[in-house]
Subunit: 258 residues, 4 copies
């Protein structure tokens, strides 16, 4: 043992075993879903049934959003130079900053500010929401997670909260985000609660630490970025000029689960 | 429409809908698993039951392998400079090259060479395996996917093929890789079939195109890289010297699913 | 000393010295130019006067090429998400692949094929050029470094060879690339010798190994990428749609050295 | 012109010209040094003689610092996986964060705090330095740019200020950083002024905006990272375990300029 010895608490590897947070990986294979083992490796324990359902949902909901997001534009542009898949995908992840995906953690912090008002001042969530909007407005700050360039109603947010309702999942962050949504609507300037804002609330109520939150967006979107990179390789001319808005969709027409 | 107009066949986004390969995303949420929607977005259609089981397994099996792999070393080193999570994870993905994860696609191409021998020369898989090893040896090439620095038997490979057996999944690539494993053993110089080699065979028999194969390793390992980056942030001193072998494990002791 | 001990031959650092390829860094400071020390650190020795002149030139010539190149598009797109400067610049470097900057090394390899014809068949450079074009055409390959989307004559190529002429610098790679240029012109289908092709020839005649050649393009363009990233931060709205062709120039009007 | 039209003020490119900040690139080639054109592209104008000398020096001084820095460790680790040069170099740049190179800008901001004390309170630089150290200590903050793991005296700092002296270059940031160095020494706990701190002062007095400062470290170190990546490719076994401290130097013995 050297003086640089260090420990990790994630995975134990010996010649005969690979234990993920204590569980032999071969036991997890075939019995758990990928999303459940994601939760295990990141959070340290297997998720219960409700958490499993929410994590599958959260990872699915942002798996792709078409060619518009800068991460997709970047992946396609880098791919078109002849880059390999891993370099292209890495460049897409490097786009996940404050303005692209950052609202998950950003909204969570705002919700915490609101919850603090509830606790410190003994006021209702609804009153705290009105007050928080006012405070942010005076400081010239926006509340992350509200507003969307395209969607007036974000169908993912609607469905995520529907699922929360079905399984009876609730918490202070969800209460706060809904109070903010209501306060914006009551103010006569309604703002969409977008999927990032809603996700920040749900992850917060699931106990995910803030510095892990953007990881869920990364894991969710990587498959979409892979799909776009491979489509660019397979269908497009290298070094093409990639128009940021003049694109269409020529894939499968709308279809539905049975 | 400009002369730069282009189409994607992955996701259709309008103000009111987000359709992934035709399916409204809100229909997928709550009814599918993340792994199933990964298959949908990447391959274009929802997986059947057997494919679902295999994809969950393949994504779980390499979710982490402890501190040794260069992707983990790199993620921790980049994190220790004060990088944010997304930059650290991107640097880890940039390690997934020929010598790290590349054996999935590499083994598949070797298997295709072997299958070609079977077809062209009308010989058995076992004879083709012996011949392929001989050809590669003469050309000074190794067959990717065989041999492992640490594991004499890779527990993940054993379990993956066990699951294939349970669901009756088989194909020429699996047959070929098993014939190669046997040929190495018979030659008196047995070589472990590592999980990358086994995965190349299974993905090949599932019809995954070669340029998508490394994507499965990326998607699988990103959660592990996130866990290591956040652990580095939370537990370690910035700019520490990261020893590449002198580390231990101080997490949960071995535990088992019920 | 452990069994992992390794050596580097680039820089020796002790508590009291930092020697770059043997030279104390403080001796280089104030007496050499940056380009000369670049040559030292990469090639192992200080450049002579002619090499110095050529390296300064080669590093200047591609320092920027406006908003069109995919590396610039990517840097601006990544910057617009709120990324820091280093992440943005890294994403630009990740664009320097086969189709973007790759023609430096690509052209050099083609020139080596041509020089081999001269040597093996005892023919002139002009005859080898005609033959090489024919061989490549039959194999369906393009000779990298010829042709440019925009410039019919690349002003940088003209000036680079003018400087070579002024200092009397010549070599087989330069001879071969000029023979190819002539052969294309004589064929009735003239193709611009672009700056990447010309650079591959000059770097080849300077003795730069092929796996270092793309490094010169990286070093040259990084300042341009930094300029574009900072301009994007300072002037532009986050998350703007970046049009790939509809841009102008509103900087200093044309001016000249005294 | 579309409604997405945008302008850049860096480079004007037409079929017949490439003007960098107004200067035709072919005029710069052969007459300017690379460092001078770096200043032009980044700052907008050609540097005067003193600025030229300082910029050459600043770009040379940190061109490499051996195998210890995390950027070098990362570049070698990524290279060892089979990555190409550009991906490896990009990963090294991604290490240039708060704790690695960040002290250039960090020190500048501290110097600005000190200069503000001088102005607001009408005290001397020496008094402001003592006061600033006290303020930072009470806030539990370190002053970036002071202290070095290895060098008790940083030979680069000594030489940089020697050159400033030779050309008579001075300014408030340099005055402030020297006052801080003196205050630390007088306090009985002397702290090395490292090269990053000194560079922050000089770049500040040259009028470089803070968000450009880390760019100088990037441009300076990229050649070193290229040298390490290529040495790793040429000399080392893929996937080796890279020891972070047990390395030596087997290059040119110490030598001197004539």
């Amino acid at each position: 043992m050297t003086d640089m010895h260090w420990d990790n608490a994630i995975t134990e590897v010996t010649p005969t075993k690979i234990n993920i947070r204590g569980y032999p990986v071969q036991e997890l294979m075939g019995r758990m879903t990928f999303a459940q083992v994601i939760w295990l490796v990141i959070m340290g324990d297997l998720p219960d049934e409700n958490t499993s359902k929410l994590i599958e949902t959260i990872l699915i909901q942002t798996i792709d959003h078409g060619p518009a997001p800068p991460s997709c534009q970047t992946v396609r542009c880098v791919t078109s130079t002849g880059a390999n898949l891993q370099t292209a995908v890495a460049s897409g992840i490097m786009c996940m900053n404050r303005f692209h995906g950052g609202a998950i953690e950003g909204c969570f912090h705002a919700l915490q500010d609101g919850i603090k008002l509830v606790r410190d001042e003994g006021i209702s969530f609804d009153d705290a929401a009105v007050k928080l909007i006012d405070i942010y407005r005076k400081e010239g700050k926006r509340i992350p997670g509200f507003g969307h360039q395209l969607h007036k109603i974000d169908p993912r947010t609607v469905r995520l909260f529907e699922i929360c309702g079905e399984i009876g999942f609730d918490g202070d962050n969800i209460r706060m985000v809904k109070a903010l949504e209501k306060a914006f609507a009551d103010s006569g300037k309604p703002l969409t609660l977008n999927i990032n804002g809603a996700t920040g609330a749900v992850l917060g109520d699931l106990g995910v630490p803030p510095n892990l939150m953007s990881g869920f967006f990364m894991m969710s979107r990587v498959p979409g970025l892979i799909a776009h990179s491979v489509e660019e390789m397979d269908r497009m001319r290298p070094m093409r000029k990639i128009h940021p808005t003049d694109y269409g969709y020529d894939g499968e027409p709308e279809r539905h689960l049975e």
